[in-house]
Symmetry: C2
Subunit: 322 residues, 2 copies
DNA sequence: TTGTAGGCGTTATCAG
DNA sequence: CTGATAACGCCTACAA
């Protein structure tokens, strides 16, 4: 593999000059520039990116940690990240974690090891205190509804959004409301739970542990819930679902068991993915892709900008399942 | 940021020794090893990965080109790639292309620039001749049903699988069969078309251009097809769909228009994703994740192994939409 | 068992 | 405008 030195020799110039033409610097006489071009062409030269990275101390690579790429919410965020990344000439290094802390630490080590210039957590299991220890190794941004100001964060206000959903259900006559969560301990889920408890208290409804369903992320998870629902002594009349996939599963399960949506049970979800439109599922729209885009923008602004919390708008979409 | 030299100085040894303990080489006296550890701890040392890459000439990074991460088929492949990559200590660099050739070339340039050790095409728009020009820069593997032997490829036999699907539909009494494709010019799609034309000829049915629907990948695409179906003068009695999402969209559209599945139209699809199970869609199972895993394995075997074509099994799953 | 020194391929500073 | 040359941080013969 030809390197810059060989090009220099062949073109009869110094490596510095080659580097100059490589980087479109001014002050290179046209004939030399030409000679260098010739040499590069004839040797089919390509610069070694790793060497550039080492020399520059930056890689144009950003890490993205996500639990599973197979969940539309996350693949949507990635899509936003990828689009915006392209804009800034950034490549993406994916770190799939399944919420395993050790994998998240691996991602942090990539940052510390200077392989990536910054890191986006689309979700996390590791504590913020741990992440703080990596301060100074590069910007970190969180895609979560966060109260701290140590790291920039991008999210919709989950507590308000969940409240909005509950209010809507209540306005439709429901008071016996169950809900599902992706991962109880997640930052966003905790906000949702906070909202739930507040509203239930307000309308004098008890908090029933068996009306909150944890680890619900997929259509299959949603489908399973109906089995549990059937075994419930006291049954809710409405579900506020983690996302559209879970809602879809719930609805299929209900129909399968002869229940009518929204009369026997109402279903409201989050995300507003295509499946919700096709299935006429009432949902709360989240600008997921925009979260990804903003995450990259924030990362690029880097330390120059102050750590801010960016709050994106959500919107209730009324369709036919409530 | 502390580097290996500072550690050496602090520990009172040479950089070589530090490097040795870093890489768990034998022949380091325990006390020196200890001193180095101490020094590294006290300076919170982390090796610079970029430097290692430059020095070793390898990065443990592999590129993955995919048109869109937002399509379950692709996110599934990625999932397989990520899992297997973990096994081999490989990180993933994602290159989202939207089938734009220029982006695929960018990925190839990452290979040529030694940023990645190998490249997996989960799908491609660029011609094989172009990819061949990058030979020698690192292994390339294709996730497609390919006839060439220049590059290793992993796939199910799409022609046979499509035949199997058609035979099944025919056995259920259908002869007026429409089909949808993700991208007509894709390698896999072409195999499907070949199978379609052969079988239609065999049963003496004409090939009707308006019964093949291109650019169908999502649930929304499937939903749209029903609009077109309604405008058709001659209507098919069955659809063989690109994937389960398209099938789901088709089914919702049909139901919405008062059509009964499978009596008015039958639907058979590919992939066997969770949605097909929940919706009871008859489908042809493809071991998608396994394609990803095998792609990585093949990449790792690299040039040592001969370029082979790996054919994975498919399986017809009978459910309730045919 | 340890250290010296050269190499990986660029970039960038600083004279000229 | 151009060229030496020193980084960048690590690895690895080779020699001791």
């Amino acid at each position: 593999m030809a390197n810059i030195r060989e090009i220099a020799k062949l073109a009869g110039v110094s490596v510095a000059t080659v580097s100059r033409v490589l980087n479109n610097h001014p002050y290179v006489r046209e004939e030399k520039r030409h000679a260098v071009q010739q040499a590069m062409d004839s040797l089919d030269y390509r610069r070694n990116l790793t060497a550039i990275h080492l020399s520059k101390g930056t890689t144009n690579l950003i890490g993205v940690v996500l639990p599973s790429i197979d969940i539309p919410y996350f693949s949507n965020i990635i899509e936003g990240i990828a689009e915006e990344g392209l804009q800034h000439n950034l490549q993406l290094v994916l770190v799939q974690t399944n919420y395993e802390i050790s994998k998240e630490l691996d991602a942090l080590e990539l940052l510390r090891g200077n392989l990536i210039d910054g890191l986006i957590f689309t979700s996390r299991a590791v504590s913020l205190d741990i992440i703080k220890q990596y301060n100074g190794n590069g910007p970190v941004v969180l895609c979560e509804d966060s109260d701290q100001l140590e790291f920039p964060s991008i999210s919709i206000p989950h507590e308000q959004a969940f409240q909005r959903g509950l209010d809507y259900l209540i306005s439709k006559g429901h008071s016996r409301i169950a809900y599902t969560l992706g991962r109880k301990t997640g930052a966003n889920s905790q906000k949702r739970t906070t909202a739930y408890q507040a509203i239930m208290k307000k309308i004098n409804e008890p908090i029933r542990d068996d009306w909150v369903f944890d680890k619900c992320l997929t259509i299959t998870d949603g489908r399973q819930i109906i089995h549990k629902y059937n075994r419930l002594k006291e049954k809710p009349t409405a579900f506020l679902a983690t996302n559209d996939q879970v809602a879809a599963g719930l609805i299929f399960g209900a129909q399968n068991d002869g229940l009518t949506v929204p009369y026997d049970i109402a279903v409201l979800s989050f995300d507003n993915q295509p499946i919700s439109e096709v299935m006429n599922i009432s949902t709360i729209d989240i600008p997921i892709k925009e979260i990804g885009r903003k995450a990259v923008q924030t990362l690029v602004e880097g330390k120059s900008a102050k750590k801010q919390k960016i709050s994106l708008p959500f919107q209730l979409i009324e369709r036919k399942t409530v």
